[in-house]
C-alpha cells in the first residue's frame, strides 16, 4: 500500500525566512501528489498539485513544490514566509491505479512563524 512520510512534525521559522517542508512517498507508479494547508478549525485547502509534466509546480500563496522521482519526494517550498502561513501542512498522494482515487495523507507538519 502507498504511504506518505512527512518527517518533520513541527517546524518553527522566522518571518521572512525561507521554508522547505519535506514529503516522501512510497508508491510504485507515477503518483498524483498534493499539498494541503489547514488552519485551526478549518478544512483543508489545496496549495498545489502534481499530475504530470513539469516537475516544478507553482501553487497559491507563493508556494511551490518539486517532484523528484529518483528521491520519491515532493517537497514544498516558499522563499519568504509570512506570519499568516502558520498552519498545518499535509502532503498527500492518490493511488491512481486503484478504483477509488482516495487520498492518502502524511501525518502533517505544523508550521509556527516567529514575528
Amino acid at each position: 500500500a502507498q504511504s506518505v512520510t512527512q518527517p518533520d512534525i513541527h517546524i518553527t521559522v522566522s518571518e521572512g525566512a525561507s521554508l522547505e517542508l519535506r514529503c516522501n512517498y512510497s508508491y510504485g507508479a507515477t503518483p498524483y501528489l498534493f499539498w494541503y494547508v489547514q488552519s485551526p478549525g478549518q478544512g483543508l485547502q489545496l496549495l498545489l498539485k502534481y499530475f504530470s509534466g513539469d516537475t516544478l509546480v507553482q501553487g497559491i500563496k507563493g508556494f511551490e513544490a518539486e517532484f523528484k522521482r529518483s528521491q520519491s519526494s515532493f517537497n514544498l517550498r516558499k522563499p519568504s514566509v509570512h506570519w499568516s502561513d502558520a498552519a498545518e501542512y499535509f502532503c498527500a498522494v492518490i493511488n491512481s491505479g486503484a478504483g477509488s482515487y482516495q487520498l492518502t495523507f502524511g501525518k502533517g507538519t505544523k508550521l509556527s512563524v516567529i514575528p
Binding site: Y101, Q102, L103
Partner: protein, 111 residues
C-alpha cells in the same frame, strides 16, 4: 453550492448514543469521500462514494459506522453506539477529476 457543506459543525454526544453527520457536496461532483482526523492518527480514509454506490468501504473502523448517499448528492455518515474513541473531526470531500474540495468538518465529542 459553492463549496462542500457539513453539518453540524460541532456535536457533543453521550457515549452509547447514535449520531448522524451530513455532507452536502459540490453540485455535479460524482465522487464523495469521508475522512476522519484525530490526534495521533492523522487523516484516515473512511469511505468512498461514486454516485450512490460505495465501492470502497475499507476504511470504516467497525460495523458501528455506516454511510449512505442519496440522489448522487447528500451523504450521511452514521455512528451507532458512540464510543469515546470516536471523538474526532469528520471531514467530507467531493471531487471532480481528482481535484478534491473539503468541507470544514464536523467536530464530534463523545462524553
Amino acid at each position: 453550492g459553492a463549496g462542500v457543506s457539513q453539518s453540524p459543525s460541532n456535536k457533543v454526544t453521550e457515549k452509547g448514543k447514535d449520531v448522524e453527520l451530513r455532507c452536502d457536496p459540490i453540485s455535479g461532483h460524482t465522487a464523495l469521500y469521508w475522512y476522519r482526523q484525530s490526534l495521533g492518527q492523522g487523516l484516515e480514509f473512511l469511505i468512498y462514494f461514486q454516485g450512490n454506490s460505495a465501492p470502497d468501504k475499507s476504511g470504516l473502523p467497525s460495523d458501528r459506522f455506516s454511510a449512505e448517499r442519496t440522489g448522487g448528492s447528500v451523504s450521511t455518515l452514521t455512528i451507532q453506539r458512540t464510543q469515546q474513541e470516536d471523538s474526532a473531526v469528520y471531514l467530507c470531500a467531493s471531487s471532480f477529476h481528482q481535484l478534491y474540495t473539503f468541507g470544514s468538518g464536523t467536530r464530534l465529542t463523545v462524553v
